[in-house]
């Protein structure tokens, strides 16, 4: 590690430095600083060191760039930074104005034009030692890693870094709401300055490098996995599986694969050739794709007979309907129908007549190939879009591309809007009228055809309190079509069978001290990134990511929106990838050394009353710890969901509770804990218990509970508490571990010390 000594060296290490405004000054509260070094190990520029005699942190203001990560990570609020963040201005890329909006499918958001531009932006990155942006990214791309590679002008390396965590960086860089994710969590953003343009840099890589498709390996035997749905979760799962040589069959209900990313996101945001890329690559790599093949919930059981695993990635594509009176008139439609038709009719070069007629509107436009022969009566059509989220913006902007008038209404206050503000601005620039604090009261019709709507004003004071409808402020607006774009939910057929929403999170988010330590939870994003509570939002996603790694039932997995409700492309992709990795692990034949050569993770968890059970747990862990495998010992009270998800083998011990003759069994808290475990199909466990007089059915009870959860019990051991002082104890432990070793084919007992 280079130790910086002066400003000149600082400029070399951090070329994005720009001395402006007030110089940063570090103040360390000598009274409160405990010398824990949380700031020292995280300072990106080495402005902090330690005073050895006082054992408190020491700041060098000359080197400070004002990112304030130290302030966010100090557990005792013993450090203050005054002065402005010393980062150069962000490289601004103007969005393209469509020359002519009509029928335009031109991509509007631009990428960096050349290396110089990209480098200038990449230089703004601090390469934080504990990068918060990576936590903000739902799939945890190594952002400082790929930005460093861009700086070296090694785009292939950058693409390889991205490929580790993402198979669709070209799509993500265009459709992600970076302000609420990585860029919102950028150190500069948390310091209330303008974040590094991470999305644009990611796009720069994908624009300039030919992204590799999956290359099928052989060696997975005849394993076959079925995937229901073909959206981002399915893409990532199929990608990961086909790469490992697993046979993959994908069933898609539509005629084209890709789900929402193909028809749900207009081409001016996500060009067709990019949206189509994953499936071109996947089919080339040998994934069998069956389109127009709707899988009914009842058919899943049959699929499980034919396949080793089934992944449900059916997404959340059922539009939420308005409950306003008149919602069934002709001329009330939903965003799915509207966007699918718009997509199709724009892709064919622009066909207003077909578009309008598909929505049940009469069209006067002549189909003589001359697109300029606009009929005014067509252009007078007004579309009312219910909602002002991202889908609503897409609907309205698509309508504008057919020359129609579009109005979006949303009952929330504009301050609390959920759409990307840049998207709202773009929509307004294209002539979309967006009315916040407005709600639909009634749809009026003549001859069953929509003629107008009654709108009411609303008032909202706080983001978490629903708006109040002001019943006396009503007005009537003439409209021809009402499009419901208030969001989606999971198809009821599946939801009622599998996961009723909202999903019951049966185990809470793991202790998040490591997240707190990074500083991501300490402040909100900058106004540039819409001041969101980006840390909390990121942390909330972790539970879903963990859940996606666990099977829903024996060989059955649910991922993406289907698991967590409507979310983002990148989150679904992350789910699919992780789920597939878990499947691959379970399919891995034992003679393949992948996970067995070490790094086999053992979790020893116990519930101890007097300390004997703990003692045995510790002894088991000690024996295993000499092998090349890692082991964690925890009381069941301290065991988090993550501990369980990442464990390859669970060794679980309890004391025996009960009166000598009746009610003998595992301790009450162990019983409760076991019952509350999620399904763990494919996991292996070994059990033990310590008893005074007679363990009776303790181990059988535990085996039964775990078997229902799908856990394979390798072996069990009952030890009399007094035994642990005898010579037999060591032999018993050795036998127990040999049995585990024999079954798992993992060598737990050979000492693995480097000679």
């Amino acid at each position: 590690m280079t130790i910086l000594e002066d400003k000149d060296m600082l400029e070399k290490v951090f070329p994005g430095l720009s001395r402006h405004g007030k110089d940063p000054v570090i103040t360390i509260v000598a009274d409160r600083c405990a010398g824990c070094q949380e700031c020292v190990i995280r300072c990106p520029v080495g402005a902090l060191s330690m005073d050895e005699t006082r054992w408190i942190a020491l700041g060098n203001s000359d080197l400070c760039v004002g990112c304030r990560q130290c302030v966010r990570t100090c557990p005792f609020s013993a450090i203050y930074i005054e002065g402005d963040p010393q980062v150069s201005a962000r490289v601004v890329l103007e969005d393209k104005e469509p020359e002519k909006l009509l029928y335009s499918v031109e991509e509007l958001r631009q990428g960096f034009a050349n290396f110089e531009e990209a480098l200038k932006e990449a230089n703004r990155c601090l390469s934080c030692p504990d990068p918060t942006c990576v936590r903000g990214c739902p799939t945890h791309n190594d952002i400082p890693g790929f930005i460093a590679a861009i700086r070296e002008n090694d785009l292939q390396k950058a693409a390889d870094i991205l490929a580790k965590t993402s198979c669709i960086p070209d799509i993500c860089s265009r459709v992600c709401n970076q302000a609420a994710q990585c860029e919102g969590a950028c150190s500069w953003s948390l310091a209330q300055d303008v974040p590094v343009a991470i999305g644009k840099l990611e796009r720069y890589i994908t624009d300039n490098i030919h992204l590799q498709g999956p290359v099928a390996k052989s060696g997975m035997g005849n394993s076959k996995v079925a995937i229901v749905g073909s959206g981002p979760a399915a893409i990532a799962a199929a990608w990961e599986l086909v790469q490992e040589g697993v046979g993959v069959d994908v069933f898609e209900k539509d005629s084209k694969p890709g789900g929402l990313i193909v028809w749900g996101i207009p081409d001016f945001t996500l060009p067709l050739e990019i949206a189509d890329r994953p499936w071109k690559e996947l089919t080339k790599a040998g994934v069998n794709l069956f389109c127009d093949h709707k899988v009914e919930p009842e058919a899943i059981a049959g699929m499980l007979d034919k396949y080793d695993h089934v992944i449900l990635a059916y997404g959340a594509s059922a539009p939420i309907k308005t409950s306003a009176p008149g919602n069934s008139y002709q001329g009330v439609t939903d965003a799915t129908v509207f966007l699918q038709s718009a997509h199709q009719n724009l892709a064919e070069g622009g066909n207003r007549k077909a578009f309008l007629e598909s929505l049940g509107l009469r069209s006067e436009t002549t189909l003589d190939g001359n697109k300029d022969s606009d009929n005014q009566s067509d252009l007078d059509y007004r579309i009312l879009v219910l909602g002002a989220g991202n889908t609503a913006m897409d609907v309205a902007r698509s309508a504008r591309r057919f020359g129609l008038k579009a109005t979006c209404i949303d009952w929330v206050d504009e301050r609390f809007a959920i759409a990307r503000p840049d998207e709202v601005a773009e929509a307004r620039a294209e002539g979309v009228e967006i009315l916040f604090s407005t709600t639909l009261q009634e749809i009026l019709a003549k001859d069953n055809k929509v003629t107008s709507v009654i709108l009411a004003e609303t008032k909202q004071e706080k983001s978490d309190v629903a708006p109040k409808i002001l019943g006396d402020k009503l007005r009537e607006v003439t409209v021809d079509l009402v499009v419901m774009a208030m969001g989606y939910r999971v198809d009821q057929g599946f939801a009622s069978r599998y996961l009723p929403m909202p999903r019951n999170r049966n185990i809470s988010i793991p202790d998040h001290t490591r997240w707190m330590a990074s500083g991501i939870l300490a402040s909100k994003a900058s106004p540039f990134a819409y001041s969101g509570a980006v840390g909390t939002q990121s942390l909330r996603r972790e539970d879903g990511l963990l859940q996606a790694q666990l099977p829903y039932d024996h060989r059955l997995w649910i991922v993406g929106d289907a698991l967590i409700g409507p979310a983002t492309v990148v989150e679904a992709m992350a789910h699919g990838k992780r789920c597939a990795q878990s499947i691959i692990k379970s399919l891995l034949p034992s003679d393949l050394d992948g996970i067995r050569s070490g790094g086999y993770k053992v979790l020893v968890c116990y519930d101890s009353m007097g300390g004997t059970t703990k003692q045995i747990a510790d002894d088991i862990a000690n024996k295993i710890s000499h092998s090349a495998n890692s082991v964690t010992v925890k009381s069941i009270r301290d065991t988090s969901k993550a501990d369980i998800v990442y464990a390859d083998l669970i060794i679980c011990g309890t004391w025996v509770e009960g009166l000598i003759f009746t009610k003998v069994g595992p301790s009450k808290s162990m019983n409760k804990w076991l019952h509350e475990l999620p399904n763990l199909h494919g996991k292996q466990a070994a059990l033990f218990c310590t008893y005074g007089v007679n363990p009776k059915s303790t181990l059988t009870v535990m085996t039964d509970i775990l078997s229902v959860k799908g856990v394979k019990i390798i072996t069990t051991m009952a030890l009399k508490s007094k035994e642990i002082t005898t010579a037999d104890y060591a032999t018993k432990l050795d036998n127990y571990l040999s049995e585990i070793a024999m079954y798992t084919e993992v060598d737990f007992l050979t000492s693995h010390k480097v000679s």
Partner: protein
Amino acid sequence: MTIELEGKVEDIAGGKASAGPDERLSAPAVAISHDPIESAVRLKPPIRRGIKERFEASDPDPKLEVSKSKFVRRLLANRKLQFLMILPNQIVFWTVIFVGLLGTTVPGLNFGAAITWYVWFCLVFVMMVVVGRAWCSMCPFGGFGEWIQRRALWKKTQKALGLGKKLPEPIARYGFLIPVLSFLILTWIEEFFNIAGPGTPADTAWMVVGIVSFALLFFLVFERRTFCRYFCPLTSLIGTVGSMGSVAGFRTKDREVCVSCQTKDCMRGNSKGFGCPWYTWPGSADSNLYCGLCSECYKTCPEGNVGLFIQKPLTSVVQPSRRRADIAWAIALLWGLVLFQQINSTNVYVSLDNWLNRHMDFAHYPNPVDYIVIIGLLALLTAGIVSLLANVLAKKEINFDRPGDFVDKKSRFRAFFLPITYGLIPVVGADYFARQLPKFFKHSARLVPAVGHLFNAGTASSSLYSFRIIDNPWIVVVQVAIIGLGTLGSLWATWRITNRELVSVSKSAIGVKLATTSLVLICGFAAAILYVAMHAAS
């Protein structure tokens, strides 16, 4: 306990292949963290240089770990422990308030006044000297504020009530001087109204109400125990005198585990407990100064690396290698205050106070000017003597000056003043303790009729009302003996401190030893003499 082979330093050094791509992650992860972004984390290695030297002397003896006992372990792990310690005191102090306001106006018969001044104050001193911050762990004032701030009596909650402000640096930089100031103010109020006499019981009640309200206010404005650390009037005494105590507090068992810990749950809190309310990190604690014995770090440590340790008496006086100027000045001022409280019963003082009051139109004891001037002068006198010693004894070739903030700045004067004042702690503590004894010996038995009075039973004619455990002049004998003991403690501590810190910077080893020990003897003698004089005056 968690074991991670791959991350251990020795293994990386041994060239183990699997250390591979994560070499950049040079801080060895002791715990298997399931951090999803591990591969993108490139933390710098924590600095370990100088850490051994810094903490060697003050680290507790592993043999003296109390939490080795299974019983203690279970007690400390229980979240209700502190609540159950606070609860009885909480009940007593609300009783003090209500009985003080509504009960009899006879101080000796009023439960509120009697328990506070005849018994409680003495008990707090005993706890201070023996344990350290034992009182803080059960204090009803801080406890009450904390319950409200945490919105819970014992449960771990996520969101705090109140503004959660951090005490700004310009104030925080004076550290221990802030509570000394509040102690001086409170003592002046107490003397003015003769609360501790005890005088009118309602005054005691109002004082308690005042402290509780101040505490609550601070708990609602600031985060954690900012009140206890920076503003509580008692904290200055408990912190300094408490360092004589035999409880080292919660400390780290293996410092390396703390240094490489990436989550610092003990400081930030987790699902099992709150981050340290006192801003103390077991990984760097070198005395019991700021350990409130609340056991939160014990509960939160994911590695089980925090233990409760005891220590030999005076360890926290002698051993800390970082001496703080705020503590030193606090001791000097507290020394001044206790001397003032002895001087104020002499005839000389009474005539001075009266004379000043006449000239200032301030018709009440104690005159604020003489109060503050006498205390200030006494503190300055101590400092002046030390300054003189420093001038005469310090080696001329050593440049002591090092810039820094108030707490840590260095100079020749400070090089002598800090260690010497630390050495005075036992004699100052003994003096405070001795001053409480007369009330305890003469009146503590009144607690029984006072309790009886609550149930219409106890009266002033009860034999216990006038029962004295011992009476003058035996009380004075005990007081002088206590001072003698304190002086002995101070002599021993000063001897150790002088050998360790002053001999090497002084021209004459014998000279400096003679000077520092004489100073202790003079202080002890002055305190003892004053007790005799006080007795004579009354």
